[in-house]
């Protein structure tokens, strides 16, 4: 028994150490906690409010979308499901430009409104922040819920069909219980991501009303060098995230559906014209909302591809190798931590400010080695840490279901831990593992890396190059590099995700 608990304990300690260590180092260096000013309280209120709204809207909209995707089969469905993951993995700067191209003053939407003689809409304000966060996170919420739908054994739907349950009755008996288990976790993870939003919130928020805690941390570290205040703010941020995690843990408790026989069965419910039409509408609207900005980013970037030089390709290869290493590390980490409380621990990974994390790691490493020489390993480690909450959210429900359904059988057979991992857990988790790996790899490719403190001129990553291009008036080359980034992260995501779903369906 203790042998089984050991990896979980080690993994949890690693997360705690990696999060608390740097915060403590920053605090230790500062000497004492800073104080919060009146602006900080306002920032805290806005941060909470926009995160709540963003997470709620994303999760609520994901329900009909995931339901529609779960019960419809159509040509290109697989590709659509994969493409819907793309906004989540887009670097924020690029995504904002994509959204502005659609919803901005000069965007497609306002162009159409103007042509129709209607008043135009402004994207800038709280609604813009929520819109952007929904754009990023609706796909994640949808995929998490879709996973929940897939985890309901086909046998249960067969039973429902044989009872002739109406769509509403089916929703109440099968789908609603699944949602009450899955949705709080999805909500919590999105809430926590939005807590640390910064550039998106500010740009689309329209001004200092949209100041978030992360911006205050940025100011404290980079402008004021007020490390005490940075440490205090990041502890506040951590506390909020952990509170959200604990609430979700309470709400998301409940029994699973038991095991099925892995049969893929057609669905018999929702054959009416109404529900067909409604599903088609949801899928169509979501596809338009999520894919149009991407398409515009891609179209805008095509000519820029020609402007790219060798430096970009080298940066791309660095990004890819970091991504592969982070993915492997993250999956091992997540498998060890895949339990309810493990998920709460994992949330710390995205709850801690990357800036404080980087500063703390720098302080810890600096007396021992030259931090620059560790740029890529540290980036790998931090990317894995930051993807951990997502990997856990994806893996945990099914890892637990596997333990619940087959733990006794495995115990009765006396399976060794390795045999359990190799023959039962990994095969049972194939689909979520593929999804988690794809997401981790894509996030890692799209991530700005561990902050400029560790930036190494010879080891630049692709997102860093995009920012450098933009900072040097090279907007066209930047859009080209952004397209390359999009293609690479999406390619990595698609390969892993597809690998997970292939065979799992058969």
């Amino acid at each position: 028994m203790s042998l089984r608990a050991l990896p979980a304990a080690v993994a949890a300690l690693a997360v705690a150490g990696l999060v608390l260590g740097p915060v403590a180092a920053v605090l230790w260096r500062a000497g004492d906690w800073g104080r919060l000013g009146p602006g900080d309280w306002q920032a805290l209120r806005f941060t909470l409010w926009q995160a709540l709204l963003s997470a709620a809207v994303s999760t609520v909209l994901a329900v009909p979308l995931a339901r529609a995707l779960a019960r419809r089969r159509f040509a290109g469905r697989g590709l659509l499901v994969a493409l819907l993951g793309a906004p989540f993995i887009l670097p924020t700067l690029v995504a904002v430009l994509g959204l502005v191209a659609v919803f901005g003053q000069n965007g497609v939407l306002n162009g159409a409104l103007r042509a129709a003689g209607l008043p135009t809409l402004s994207i800038y304000g709280l609604h813009g922040v929520v819109l952007a966060h929904v754009f990023f996170n609706l796909p994640l919420a949808t995929r998490l819920l879709l996973q929940g739908w897939h985890a309901i054994p086909a046998e249960r739907f067969r039973l429902a069909a044989s009872l002739g349950l109406s769509p509403w009755a089916l929703f109440r008996t099968l789908e609603a219980p699944m949602l009450t288990r899955i949705a709080p976790g999805a909500f919590a993870v999105i809430f926590v991501i939005c807590l640390s939003s910064f550039a998106v919130a500010l740009t689309l928020g329209g001004g200092p009303r949209a100041t978030t805690v992360e911006l205050a941390i940025y100011q404290a570290v980079r402008f004021d060098f007020d490390l005490g205040r940075a440490a205090l703010l990041s502890v506040v941020q951590l506390g909020l995230a952990l509170a959200a995690g604990l609430v979700a843990l309470r709400l998301g408790a409940g029994a699973g559906f038991g095991a099925g026989l892995d049969r893929v069965l057609p669905r018999w419910d929702a054959r009416g014209g109404w529900s067909r039409g409604l599903d088609a509408l949801w899928i169509g609207l979501a596809a338009l909302f999520l894919l149009l900005p991407l398409a515009l980013v891609a179209a805008r970037g095509l000519p820029g591809l020609l402007l790219l030089d060798a430096g970009i390709w080298q940066a791309a290869s660095h990004s890819l190798s970091v991504a592969l290493a982070s993915t492997l590390l993250c999956l091992i980490w997540a498998l060890a931590l895949a339990s309810r409380w493990g998920e709460v621990v994992g949330l710390a990974g995205i709850a801690v400010s990357p800036l404080v994390l980087g500063t703390g790691l720098f302080l810890i490493l600096q007396p021992l080695v030259n931090p620059l020489s560790l740029a890529l390993p540290v980036t790998t480690l931090v990317n894995a840490l930051m993807a951990l909450p997502f990997a856990l959210r994806i893996l945990r429900p099914q890892a637990q279901a596997a333990r619940q359904d087959y733990g006794r059988l495995a115990q009765a057979l006396g399976l060794t831990p390795l045999a359990w991992l190799r023959l039962v857990l990994l095969p049972r988790l194939r689909r979520p593992l593929g999804f988690a790996a794809g997401l981790t790899a894509a996030l890692s490719i799209g991530d700005l890396g561990v902050i400029a403190l560790f930036a190494n001129p010879d080891r630049a990553t692709l997102p860093l190059q995009v920012y450098r291009l933009m900072g040097s008036y090279q907007m066209d080359a930047a859009t080209g590099a952004a397209l390359l980034l999009l293609v690479l992260s999406f390619g990595a995501f698609w390969l892993f995700d597809r690998g997970g779903r292939m065979g799992a369906d058969a």
């Binding site: 038991g258 026989l261 006794r408 059988l409 009765a412 060794t416 045999a419 359990w420």
Partner: protein, 237 residues
């Protein structure tokens, strides 16, 4: 001899006490009202639950603290007796090699023989999803056969099968048990199962697992607890 000595198990407001002994090689039915603790009794014997007091002994040896795979017990569950993503060869192979390594030639032969013994020749490459309910039960029995433990504990394994198929399975179970010379504990809702299969019956009711009684005698003159059960709950699941 399997001995439950002053065994006591409590969980919330549920209690189960047992003080009884069963002979090796016997076929014993475990009957009683729903929720009385039949499955709990099997779990205590198989090691999935730990009693607060008392001992479990097999041939005089105390196994109360042994984990499930170190006990002389093979357990068949109500469901999930096979991993759905593994074919039968791998599923059954795990009974021989719990470390999941490749089977050696003779081990493969044993798996094939066990499949043949339960009437599933040539099905070793199939996954459970591709089998009928009866075939799945047969495969599970083949797994038990390979585990070759001296005690077989079955928790309503054939509840989902029709009467004819169930009768077939009980006959097969008897053959397997005889092959192994194993003590069989069969939990069932259906008094017919007990009559058809078991020489002795343990009644679990009112928080107690009573010592075994000859099946015919028990049903001929049921004690009040059994009478209440037969009167209200028989025949339905």
């Amino acid at each position: 001899m399997l001995t439950l000595e002053g065994l006591s198990f409590t969980e919330a407001d549920f209690t189960l006490q047992a003080d009884l002994a069963l002979d090796p090689g016997a076929r014993v039915a475990v009957v009683g009202p729903s929720g009385a603790g039949k499955s709990t009794l099997l779990d205590l014997i198989a090691g999935f639950r730990t009693p607060q007091a008392g001992r479990v002994l097999w041939q005089g040896q105390d196994i109360t603290a042994a984990p499930p795979d170190r006990r002389p017990v093979a357990l068949l569950f109500q469901e999930n007796n096979l991993f759905p993503h593994l074919d039968l060869m791998r599923n059954l192979g795990l009974a021989l090699r719990p470390d999941g390594r490749r089977l050696r030639g003779p081990e493969r032969e044993r798996v094939l023989a066990a499949l043949a013994r339960v009437g599933l020749e040539g099905m070793e490459a199939r996954r459970p999803g591709a089998l009928s309910g009866g075939q799945q039960s047969r495969a599970a029995l083949a797994r038990v056969l390979l585990q070759a433990r001296p005690i077989l504990a079955l928790d309503e394994p054939f509840a989902a099968l029709g009467p004819a198929l169930k009768a077939q399975m009980l006959d097969l179970l008897r053959e397997v048990a005889e092959d192994l010379g194993a003590l069989v504990l069969l939990v069932s809702h259906d008094p017919e199962d007990a009559r058809r299969f078991a020489q002795a019956t343990v009644l679990v009711a009112e928080g107690r697992a009573h010592p075994p009684v000859a099946t015919e005698a028990l049903f001929a003159d049921p004690p009040p607890a059994l009478r209440a059960y037969l009167g209200t709950g028989s025949g339905t699941e």
